[in-house]
Every structure is written in C-alpha cells, then in structure tokens.
Symmetry: none
Subunit: 141 residues, 4 copies
C-alpha cells in the first residue's frame, strides 16, 4: 500500500492555505493523516481559534478510519444519527462527520486523508481539494 | 456454560469472509467474542479501512452484553435513541447498534457473538449468518 | 510502504500458536497489527484468560507506534521508568513494554507488528519469531 | 502577549528537520505549540514511526504548561518521580518529561514551545534549538 510522503503532505497543506487566501476564507487549519490515521503534517493560520487542530483531525480521522469522506459521513449522520454517535464511541469521540474530511488517493489506493476547518464546511472542502490537486493526487470529499 | 471454541471461531471467521467473496461484498472484517464480550478471533480483509476492528467489535459487544442481536438494538435505537445513548455511556461507547451483530447459540445457550462490518449492515449480517451455519451453530441476527 | 496482508497475518497467527503447542507453552493469544497499529488478525487459544487480547495488542502497539521491539522498550523502562509511564499517558495506556512485542519487517521496511502473550515474555517472543519466520518475513523482537 | 506566528513555526519545523539531516539523525518529528499548548504546526519525516506526533506534542506540552523545558522536567522526574506522575494525572497523560521539549522566547516572553522526537533526547533538543535560532528566536531546552 502506498503511503503519503512528507513532501506531498507539505504541498497539500500549503496549497490548501493558499487557496483559502485566494477565496477570501477565514483563517484555515489543515491536517494530513497517513493511512493509519496518524498525523503527518499540520498548520494553523494566524487568527484561527486554538481548538482547530482537533476539528481538522476529526474530519480527516473519520474519513480514513471508515474509508468514507466527510460528505458521506454527514449523509449517514443525517439518516441514522445514533449510528454516527456509536461510531464516535468506538473512536473515542475523534470523528467529526462533515465536509472537509477528504480521502487522498493515488489512483485507486487511499494513501491518507486531509482535514480542513475554519470556514463553512463546503468551503473547507473546496480548499482542501485544491491542495490535493496541487500535489498531483486525487481527492474524494 | 458452554463457551465458543477457537476452532469454531476460526471457522466462523473464514466462512463469513468466504461468503462475502461469494456475494461480491466489499472487504469484510469479522470478530468473534466469547460470552464475556472478550475477543476470541478476528480478521480484517485487505482493502478494508483501518477502523473496522472497532466497528465489528462494537456490533458483537452490544449483542452479547445486552443479549440482543443488532437488528433488535437498531429497532430500540430508532424508537428510543436516548436509551441506546445511555447504554453506550454504561459500556464506554463500545456498542454499535445495527445489524451485523449476531448472537451465536448452541441450542438455547448463547456461547458468543459475531460482529461483521464492511458492506451494508444487512449484507454484513447475511455473511455472518452463513459463517455461523458453516460452524454447525445457530445465529440470531 | 508495504503493508502486511491478511494471508501473511493468518500464517503468523497459526504458526505462532503451533510453535507454542510444540514448545509446550500455556495457551497463547496472538495479534497482528498493521503499520498504523490497527488490528489485522487475532486468535486466543482455549484456556487463555479473557483479558489476553489487550495484553497482546499492547505489546504489538508499543512496537509499531514507537518503532521499538518489546525488548528495547523494556530496557528503556528499566533505565527510565517515568519515560515509559509518560509514553503510556500519550497512548492512552495501550503500551505493554515487555518482550512478545515484535516488529515485522519485509527487508528493511516495517510492515506491521506481532504481539504474543500467555507464557513467559521470552517464550512468547520465541513463538512469535517462529510464526513470523514461517510467513517468510523477518522479525525484530 | 506575543504569540508565535505560523511563519515562525514553519521556519522552526523546517530548520529543525534540516539540522537533523545535517547531523545524520534518525527521521524526526517536530511540533510547534502556541502559548496555550495548542498545535500550530507539525511535520513527521518519512520513516519515523507513526506514534511520534504524540511524543513530540507531549514534550512541548509539558514545557509550555509548566513553564519548564524538558531537561528541567527530567531532573524533577529523576528526583521525584511521583510528582511528574501526578502532573500527568492533572494533564491527562499528555506530558513527556525529557529533553526535546523547548520553550520558545522572544526576549523574555515565552511565545510557544517546540517538541522534537526521533533520535536521542539530547540530539532531538540540539536540532530543535537550531530550528529556533534559524527563526531569529531564543530557545530554553
């Protein structure tokens, strides 16, 4: 199984933040996790609130642990709220099931996940997808 | 009290996975718990997301601790979500109340539980029931 | 990065248990984790105490998360007990720093970890190394 | 109160890693926390074990929360192990009291903390001090 590299993760973090600036978004926080859900890289922009690491991580963590991007997690939460609540029990409350949690793929293989937070969930996801594309990889948001 | 054996657990795990392949399901993860809710055997197929142990365990754990299969837990969650939330408080968040959590019986006696995850909850349960039957035991899904 | 397969994990679990029978050890429990510390396969022999999943997992989890086999963790714990205590704070008490936690390598790359428990730590490690060798892989115990 | 900026944090992370390469150290993981102990930036080099985020964070967290660099925490742990154990009770097990946890100062004011892990604690601290110097700031290791 391929694994995201630090070079790819750096590019994703930087380019997601750059996209946020270009879109005029609020300050963003961006995490990249590996295929085991462990942190590879993270940056929080000046002016972002201090708890943003946990939110970014929670978006990406749910994506990689369940193999489901944030939009699919949100759909499941809206249909069956108790299921996503139970999932959070299993994962110690670390799953944030909304857009901005993005699977990173190299072809068909999941090689990691990105979590973006700071603006609306949809804007977060758009910025993250741009960062992933800038690294020459595919995202599933 | 009769207790599931490793030989039975191995058969259940293998035959559940084999059934999943035959049905064309997504990669499955299958756990067998004993009557105390403790792990006896587990396998996660290649390509399954990394968090599937916790989901499989949560389905089987709720079944054995409450003496209720996943379908009955789901019915209760849909009628009375706060009850299943409270149950999860009691059990440290380890209960996942959806189909795929199956009681294993030898005659009338519960001898363990199986948890299956990876495809739809109903397909998970169908594969698990086939695995239990292949071990010459009865399942309540 | 290479990742341990279910086929390899199955072989390791079976052959570790077979080695334990050949050595006349107490009932063993054997877990295989992937490179992210997530469970790939587990079996607990009949007669083993119910808490053995957690002990096996803790041996393997420390190995993979720190990149240090159980013997090296034990040496560190004996020199600097407060350091390993702090490590366990970081990892939620999941690290069991004694022999029987073994890194699995394919050439130079760590592809997972094995945890064995049930007999003395040294016997646990010897059985686990035999299981890894039977799968055509290298172990660092 | 002055607060470390993302620009400064980026420089520290990059230059600490560069120093590690120059010194021939094992792969490093480097975190920068703000004055509230919250993550500002992090990178983990390819080949570092997956649990290194937690270790890096624990070194920096203890430094900033107690206002004591890792070397002073280690001295206290060696004199009075139960005190550092109690500190970890207070802080949820997040403190790793060894060198590699460094206070970052701008003149007299603490503006954040750096945590470095991957090689020996002393080498980790040396690389981190070089990273802080490269950002035009002072470190207390």
């Amino acid at each position: 199984m391929a694994e995201i590299t630090l070079e790819q993760a750096r590019t994703i973090v930087r380019e997601t933040i750059a996209k946020g600036r270009e879109m005029g978004l609020k300050p963003l926080s961006v995490v990249v996790l590996d295929t085991g859900g462990h942190v590879k890289a993270f940056e929080r922009e000046d002016g972002a609130s201090p708890g943003r690491f946990g939110i970014a991580q929670g978006k990406a963590y749910g994506a990689v642990m369940l193999g489901m991007p944030g939009s699919a997690q949100m759909a499941r939460a809206e249909q069956q709220a108790y299921f996503m609540a139970a999932v959070n029990g299993v994962f110690g409350g670390q799953v944030v099931p909304v857009p901005g949690g993005i699977l990173v793929k190299d072809g068909d293989a999941v090689i990691g996940a990105v979590g973006v937070t700071g603006d609306t969930s949809d804007n977060d996801a758009e910025a993250g997808m741009a960062g992933i594309a800038a690294a020459g990889l595919d995202g599933a948001a």
